[in-house]
Symmetry: C2
Subunit: 302 residues, 2 copies
Amino acid sequence: MGSPVVVLAGGSGGAKLARGLQDEVGGELVVIANTGDDVEIHGGHVSPDPDLVTFWLADRIDDRGWGLREDTFHVMDGLRELGEEVWFNLGDRDLALCLRRARRLAEGARLTEAIDEARRALGVPARVLPMTDEPVRTHVRAAGRWWPFQDFMIRHGAAGPVEGVELRGVDAARPTAEALEAIERARAIVIGPSNPVISIGPMLAVPGVRDALLAARAPVVAVSPLVRGQVLKGPTAAFMAYGGLPLSSDGIAAHYAGLLDGLVADERAGGLPTLETDVEMGDAAARRRVARETLAFAGALQ
Amino acid sequence: MGSPVVVLAGGSGGAKLARGLQDEVGGELVVIANTGDDVEIHGGHVSPDPDLVTFWLADRIDDRGWGLREDTFHVMDGLRELGEEVWFNLGDRDLALCLRRARRLAEGARLTEAIDEARRALGVPARVLPMTDEPVRTHVRAAGRWWPFQDFMIRHGAAGPVEGVELRGVDAARPTAEALEAIERARAIVIGPSNPVISIGPMLAVPGVRDALLAARAPVVAVSPLVRGQVLKGPTAAFMAYGGLPLSSDGIAAHYAGLLDGLVADERAGGLPTLETDVEMGDAAARRRVARETLAFAGALQ
């Protein structure tokens, strides 16, 4: 394949941009996804961000914003009938994917392989890579206690203020050979419009990733997750506040200080080349437009 | 509760008799079920015999002879879509039950507790106990190799001749306190019409169970799994042949030699009190009739 376009993605924002990029470059897209949100539950290994990306790339994402379109929830209903408090909801086909992944990992497969098998089975032309094969589990401190990430999001309702973030396991994690090769060979590296602290942060914290990005010949550009100064989805504001970062292009640029060659945002950042454009990606045309403009901007920065 | 009626049960035959007995004695019924067929699969802990009994007692058994009535199979469909060869089929609500059980066991619950929670959740008045809390896994030798029991049944099509049976783990297994207490306090002990070698055999092989049955004050009667000299379901014939036992009341009596006070069958056994009656249990009335006659027979043997 040609020189890849690499995008670092967390949840919905990064996944939407990846979908637009796939329209532009097809199988030359490589998505590196955050696995700090992974959780073992219901017998399965759930990788929310890689799966969200995969479902978007397969055009199978449900309108609710997560899970597979037209999935059913009979296993969760069954668990409730048995008296279980089901706080983490998984559709039946989504669960199948997570059960299969847990089995593959138990058999000794790398997470990279298990995630790749899923994207192939769903017919996705782009590659989807986990940030690492080792377990990293993001924990958030709020209301005076530490929460595993999904517990914070779902059971605690993602309620700030955020008092701390720990990426448990990250010191022992290593980027995969596949991710490092993609970064090295990339013609463009895009940091997706995902939560900088909690979605992109874990990827940059895996020892070796930041150095690989700095060493890459490709320009590194970020697409801002802020639309008209607002966060569209998720608790980005609470995490930006925790990081002492203003909710603005300058805040995004400060968070990625030293890493970026440019920013794509609807508001200029001081001291950083900015492509000023509408970064809302409400439909396929907008996703493709932002992708195309981002690639052109990265090309111009080369 | 009063002095219980204890039935030892494997699959369908034992479960049908248990259903009839539940009509007769309600919550005074205690079923001890074979767990040699248990299998960890799809992230769950599957206990086919205890579950079959529980589904029968809950009037939830599906017409196909296993699983829950009106269950769906979306997770299995999902696994197939992902390229998995699904050889062990589980409905979605059945899977929920097995996932919950696996989680409870991982949390440190005993199998006895996990199975009891399921029967309570399904509203079953009778108790359902596993033969042991320790793992026992029946293996069958056929066609020159050893098969885990479910592999033999499903992948090998239960094809005889049977060349060997191993109950792996049975030497380290112990009967539960609940099972021993039920046997000791029983007013009648009934060995259900299940495969004597592969369903009842593992229960009798758990160290301590045979002695407990012999020490019990209650009469022990078996209900023959043979109807007009034929096996209604499952590979009983191949296992009786492996055991060198004729497919007759005498064969059943010989298998349980020294243990029985009487046999319920449609053909007299030599040298053992026999209640000659139709033991086919094709409908609720027949199940209840066989149960009632068996209890009366046991009472007369007291």
